[in-house]
């Protein structure tokens, strides 16, 4: 009987185009749009050599030191600037047309002309400041210790790098992936539509299909579990399609813990189904209202887990950590985040335990609402 209900239920679900759209096609579409919108989100963080100009006048020709230093940083392999030596009028024109971040007039002191205050302009200013500050330090040292002249001359241009870069073990700090993780969490909880349908079709006072199922010579729990298993299979397959699409077509990184990612997706799918069932059992309203509650809850939880703005998730976890722990979508998003970014599994394990606790709460409540319900008349 289990397989009979299971396979028939599977057929019913696969023919329900509306549910398939919301649980599979909609997340796929969103993932595509996310990729189109967010793929270059980190591009403006990346350092690009700054376009600058220097006014070609008598002072520029005379100041050999500055000329040499500026040319060195503009021609090196990891150059700081793309330098143009041009007339004042040309420099003015390029600045007005935003072709350069600023131009330098070699004078006493050196002058920088910019059109706005931004990171590019700040880097140019810092460079000139550093030149002038070093010049001042040389001046002071020579005035107090003239014997240093030879050593200072030899050391000119030999600057030591004191700062060395390390990285945290695990994934790169690429915040864009969090948008996709929260999207997976949302898709898991859109599986709630399937859970909701299961409840609607097991409560005889809600639908005629349920009324028929209730008079069948099969235990209600058995009928419910077998049809829920079909829903879970559909939901998990849809999630695997979404995961594959994100990984192989869109190139979203999930780290290298593939087994854990599949387990997390399965747990997320179960959580989504049980959540839908829970909402459906709890709200004794029409299907439209139940759908509305499900969408509203999922949307709010998605927002709080950073689906629309990634910094929201961080702000909440820093300022209202309690809200992070009671939001199952955030826990699911965070589980994917932990698998991608951390080298340890401790926080991931805690997230998964709390999600399982949520599944138990949703399922137990649903069970107690549904069990032993008899209908005097329909």
């Amino acid at each position: 009987m289990f397989t009979h209900i299971f396979f028939n239920r599977l057929k019913c679900l696969l023919r329900d185009k509306m549910t398939i759209f919301w649980t599979m096609v909609f997340p796929l579409l969103l993932a595509t749009f996310y990729q189109l919108a967010f793929s270059n989100l980190t591009a403006n963080e990346k350092f690009q050599p700054v376009n600058i100009a220097v006014v070609d006048d008598e002072n520029w020709d005379k100041n050999e030191n500055f000329r040499q230093v500026l040319k060195d940083v503009s021609t090196a392999e990891d150059n700081l600037f793309n330098l143009q030596v041009i007339s004042y009028d040309e420099a003015e024109k390029l600045l007005q047309n935003n072709k350069i971040s600023g131009y330098i007039i070699v004078d006493e002191p050196i002058k920088l002309v910019v059109s706005k205050s931004d990171i590019n302009q700040s880097i140019v200013k810092s460079f000139i400041d550093i030149y002038m500050q070093n010049y001042s330090a040389f001046d002071r040292i020579l005035s107090e210790n003239p014997a240093m002249l030879k050593q200072l001359t030899n050391n000119t241009g030999k600057r030591q790098t004191f700062v060395y870069e390390t990285a945290f073990p695990g994934g790169k700090p690429n915040f864009v992936v969090n948008y996709f993780y929260s999207l997976i969490a949302m898709a898991c909880f859109y599986g709630g539509f399937l859970g909701m349908r299961e409840i609607n079709e097991i409560q005889a006072n809600i639908s005629s299909v349920a009324a028929r199922v209730n008079v069948a010579p099969v235990h209600k729990m058995k009928a419910f579990l077998s049809s829920s298993a079909a829903s879970l299979l559909v939901q998990y397959c849809e999630m695997l399609i979404l995961l594959s699409y994100m990984t192989f077509i869109l190139g979203v990184s999930f780290g290298n813990k593939f087994g854990y990612i599949l387990i997390t997706t399965l747990i997320g799918s179960i959580a989504g189904l049980s959540f839908g069932a829970f909402i459906s059992a709890l709200a004794k309203k029409t299907e439209g209202v139940k759908s509305a509650i499900l969408i509203l809850t999922t949307m709010v939880c998605s927002f709080l887990s950073g689906m629309m703005q990634q910094s929201i998730k961080y702000s909440i976890s820093r300022n209202v950590p309690f809200l992070s722990w009671i939001n199952p979508l955030n826990l699911l998003t965070d589980s994917f985040y932990c698998l991608y970014y951390y080298d340890t599994l401790s926080r991931y394990a805690i997230n998964i335990v709390v999600i399982i606790a949520f599944i138990l709460i949703f399922s137990t409540t649903t069970y107690f609402i549904l069990r032993r319900r008899k209908y005097a008349s329909l």
Partner: protein, 286 residues
């Protein structure tokens, strides 16, 4: 106009579900509106950009305090507990873009002329990475110059010299060309999120209409009606376009209502125009 009227009736029936997206959009707009303070100022003076950094020092010496003071000119210090996960999270979500760690005994070794290094963790290849590196290396290179030039120089003397040298700054002239710098991040954000809500509303509404009209029985019934299929299709398209336009208009009005405090400029007109085209693009996607 029976078909048109039917479409409107179907939309009316689905209004509660559609309004959820509009409601969530409105809530998000209000939250963002309340949290982002709009800075609007005419540029006249140059302000160096500041990056958010975490400064973790395992020692407290005048030399390191001098470095921190100097960094304060180009960085905002974010207080974070020295816990790996907290630092990792802060870097990932860009609460900080640079984490600097001064090891214990750094100053002593530096003053003795030993080779020393400082560990940093930053967003790779970023602007702030280059910017802050420049500042730290400059401070330490200049300090090294003094340490090698003057025997037995004390930390306080060193910091005093550095402070005087580092006060030398380039003269910066800002030629604004009459432009104003306006922080559009708020309105940018609202319109970014607007497109998501609009797309959802239009897909939801139109897919409901199309699903109803694609019902086999209804199709057959419509097929034998005295109305021509061209007329039915025309009315159906008209209803979809009306729905698209109404959804766009309602959400734009809400958007402007939330944004009423801020000035209305050409950028907002372009945003509206953009969203109008996007609305019909969404309709064709649906």
């Amino acid at each position: 106009m029976q078909v048109f009227k039917l479409c409107i009736q179907i939309i009316k029936k689905n209004l509660p579900v559609l309004s959820i997206y509009v409601f969530v959009f409105l809530m998000v707009s209000l939250i963002v509106s309340a949290s982002i303070t709009k800075e609007q100022q005419k540029i006249s003076t140059f302000n160096s950009s500041k990056s958010n950094i975490a400064f973790i020092s395992e020692e407290d010496t005048p030399f390191i305090n001098g470095l921190k003071d100097e960094l304060g000119n180009i960085a905002n210090f974010v207080d974070l507990p020295d816990i790996k996960e907290e630092l990792q999270d802060a870097l990932f979500f860009r609460s900080v873009s640079y984490i600097l760690r001064i090891p214990e005994g750094f100053t002593e070794r530096f003053m003795n002329g030993d080779d020393v290094t400082i560990e940093k963790i930053a967003v790779p290849d970023s602007f702030s990475n280059t910017y802050i590196d420049m500042c730290i290396d400059n401070y330490l290179n200049m300090a090294k110059l003094y340490v090698t030039s003057f025997d037995n120089i004390t930390q306080d003397e060193l910091v005093g010299y550095l402070k005087k040298d580092l006060s030398k700054n380039a003269l910066v002239e800002v030629k604004t060309n009459g432009e104003t710098s306006e922080n559009h991040s708020y309105i940018n954000y609202i319109f970014n999120y607007f497109s998501y809500s609009l797309l959802s509303v239009i897909i939801l509404g139109m897919s409901t209409l199309i699903l109803v009209f694609n019902n086999r029985d209804l199709k057959m019934r419509n097929g034998c009606s005295p109305m021509s299929s061209a007329k039915i299709n025309l009315q159906f398209v008209l209803a979809n376009l009306t729905f698209t336009f109404s959804s766009w208009a309602i959400m734009i009005l809400l958007c402007l209502a939330v944004n009423f405090k801020n000035s209305f400029n050409m950028n907002i007109v372009y945003f509206i125009l953009n969203s109008f085209i996007f609305a019909f693009c969404s309709a064709s996607i649906s």
